[in-house]
Symmetry: C2
Subunit: 215 residues, 2 copies
């Protein structure tokens, strides 16, 4: 990552970060504790992501208590089973089945993940216009992704899961989140990763999805 003359080439470090920060589920280290300070460091970096009109309406609920993790995992597993009944799973193609297997592994082991993070943001966003949704989600999801990139730089991993949101109100009750005025965004499992040698993702070529000047 260092150019001739010793100057760091920031684009190389960035390219590696952006291409190897993957959705980690099976490679979460369920046995190694996560230090509180590293979570705080990564959250501080996340807060530097853009926020519409600099409103910073975000809140971050970090769950490490085993009793609370058990309760969350139970709700999560129920939600998972409801979203993926057997008939949905049998209709999946090979790629979907691979990801589903990984997601099921996470659902089964969620209570063992050292840290669970639930980002939230003020006001309910149910049933809104695209204009309102766009500004709202763009004020929290870049921070979520920054959090994951920061974790990756420190040997930890996560993934964005949204499964529990079918049971959002129950989870709000478990954690004291003011459901009527604040929307949960995702649930992020956080752990050290088993190894740090992640590769880039298989993606359709850019040419299939980019349009110059007209669709």
């Amino acid at each position: 990552m260092t150019a001739p003359g010793g100057r760091v080439r920031p684009e190389r470090a960035t390219d590696e970060l952006l291409t190897t920060t993957r959705a980690v589920r099976r490679r979460l280290d369920l046995d190694r504790p996560v230090e509180r300070t590293v979570v705080e460091e990564c959250l501080r970096l996340a807060l530097q992501a853009p926020s519409g009109m600099n409103n910073q309406r975000w809140h971050w609920v970090v769950v490490t208590d085993q009793g609370k993790k058990n309760a969350l995992a139970e709700v999560y597993q129920e939600a998972f089973d409801a979203v993926y009944p057997p008939e949905v799973v049998t209709s999946m193609d090979a790629e979907q089945r691979r990801i589903h297997g990984s997601a099921r592994y996470l659902a089964t082991n969620l209570a063992r993940v050292p840290v669970l993070v639930i980002p939230c943001q003020w006001t309910r966003i149910d049933d809104s216009t695209v204009f309102r949704q766009a500004g709202w989600w763009a004020s929290i999801l870049p921070a979520v992704w920054s959090f994951m990139l920061a974790l990756r730089s420190r040997g930890l991993g996560s993934c964005i899961t949204t499964m529990h949101l079918t049971e959002e109100e129950r989870v709000a009750g478990l954690l004291g989140i003011p459901y009527e005025r604040c929307t949960q965004v995702a649930l992020l499992p956080v752990a050290h990763t088993l190894g740090t040698d992640f590769t880039s993702a298989r993606r359709r070529p850019l040419e299939d999805v980019v349009h110059w000047n007209a669709w």
Copy 2:
């Protein structure tokens, strides 16, 4: 960014990237052309961001044609004036006024920005449940933020604007975007930046927004 012994410390490069990638408006270089290859490079990096079930339902419309930029800028200015009528502006606090001034500068100069990028994603998302919204937006906004981080690493800048979405259907018509089946996410102005010495953002302290185990 290099540790003793010459090893690059990836967390330092990451921290700098995540804390200095700002919403750039007044410091967009309106006179310097942007090479097509750098846009393509940054979009390829963006496509490595997470996509729910690896569905990759995204499309990226890149506008460089002056006639199309003029038409977009006209719609954008109208939308901007409708969202920020004088009575809204006069009720703003100092911070909001600062950001509004910067946003107005961008609106006034949008046709002069070398490249405008509109990320889109399949299916309409109007009036959906939080569960459906969360999965949908989390499959495109990390890619948008990755695109901005990749631009930053190459001396370019952008910001997430959503203003034109009040006129989304008109913009779809201008660019041939299939409005009935595909939702526009944002409009990203892309240009080289005037200087690259961006600082971190002023943010409320983490302690105000983090909750351990219960709200």
